[in-house]
Symmetry: C2
Subunit: 166 residues, 2 copies
DNA sequence: TACTGATTTCAATCAGTATTGAAAGTATTG
DNA sequence: CAATACTTTCAATACTGATTGAAATCAGTA
């Protein structure tokens, strides 16, 4: 496989993957492109490489910056902005986990806490509360597990954690 | 909060959550409804409770059965099918992890393996291969971690694993 | 076999997101 | 300050995937 084929395949797949992941396709593609770029790129470079509109590129670059996956880079003497991806994969993964946790797990925990207030006065409400309690148990555990994971460093994850779980 | 309010809140939220999760809204709502139902329900019960069409109910029930989250139940002397949710939360979570892993992680691993074949002959290809290798490292680790998690039992998860990670 | 009630399928439609592109905004330069 | 180079916004549009409902299919029953 040539570099050009590999790049194309990687960018396209990252985009598709992104969508099965709740992340929008263009955002994932820009991320892929910057990840494998040996140096920073400007909006125009990205726009032409991916064949997307200015507006789209801009919005998704901002989202990536917001996620902490891409940084702006200003070149001295140049007016336009350049962009670089965070290349430390452990940081990348941590940011993704943090964002997905916020979007997927935390709202669930809030809802469970809310509905946990139902009084157990009949078979139906007992069943309801039991389900809610079970879900709370697991979601709180998952929440703290992910917190620990995010706070820990790469070596700990790859080394200790993985040995433990084997 | 009354039972009725709690139920509504739970079902609606589970639906919304479902969509930030890559799971379709109706599928998540049906699942929520069956989870908290004290006994099995038929398609018509579900249809009226959630105000959805026959076709929709049928398709999503099928998907839930496919995910191993809901079972058919045949009542003797009754022609129509009833449905019950898997109530063991550990099983539920395992099934969800298994399915999401298949949809989100495994395709990524396949793509990485494919593009890992690029020859390192210049700065650009070196950068590319480095990124791919880093991603492979983490995705393979995550893959085996999730396998272990899915194979392990509830007590181990809640007990041992959680103590380790604390 | 014909009838009935239940389930499944699928083309048409709908709704929610993503994308575009033109217009407005901002900052730098001479 | 006006021109230029770039960035951001946002209403209109296009896409994608979810949903409907009518028709087809299936399975018991008489």
């Amino acid at each position: 496989m040539t570099l050009e084929e590999g790049k194309q395949r990687f960018i396209q797949s990252w985009g598709t993957l992104g969508s099965n992941w709740g992340i929008n396709r263009t955002m994932a593609q820009i991320h892929a492109l910057l990840l494998i770029a040996p140096q920073s790129m400007c909006a125009e470079d990205i726009r032409t490489e991916l064949n997307i509109s200015m507006g789209n590129a801009n919005m998704n670059l901002r989202a990536l910056i917001d996620w902490g996956l891409v940084y702006k880079e200003l070149k001295p003497g140049e007016r336009k902005e350049y962009f670089v991806a965070e290349k430390d994969m452990w940081v990348v993964i941590r940011q993704i986990i943090t964002h997905r946790k916020k979007k997927e797990l935390e709202p669930m925990i809030r809802v469970l806490d809310e509905v946990a207030g139902v009084q157990e006065v009949c078979t139906e409400s007992e069943e309801f509360c039991k389900v809610v309690r079970d879900l709370q148990l697991f979601s709180n555990k998952a929440d703290s597990a992910l917190d620990t994971l995010v706070r820990s460093d790469s070596n700990w994850f790859v080394g200790t954690f993985m040995k433990m779980i084997k």
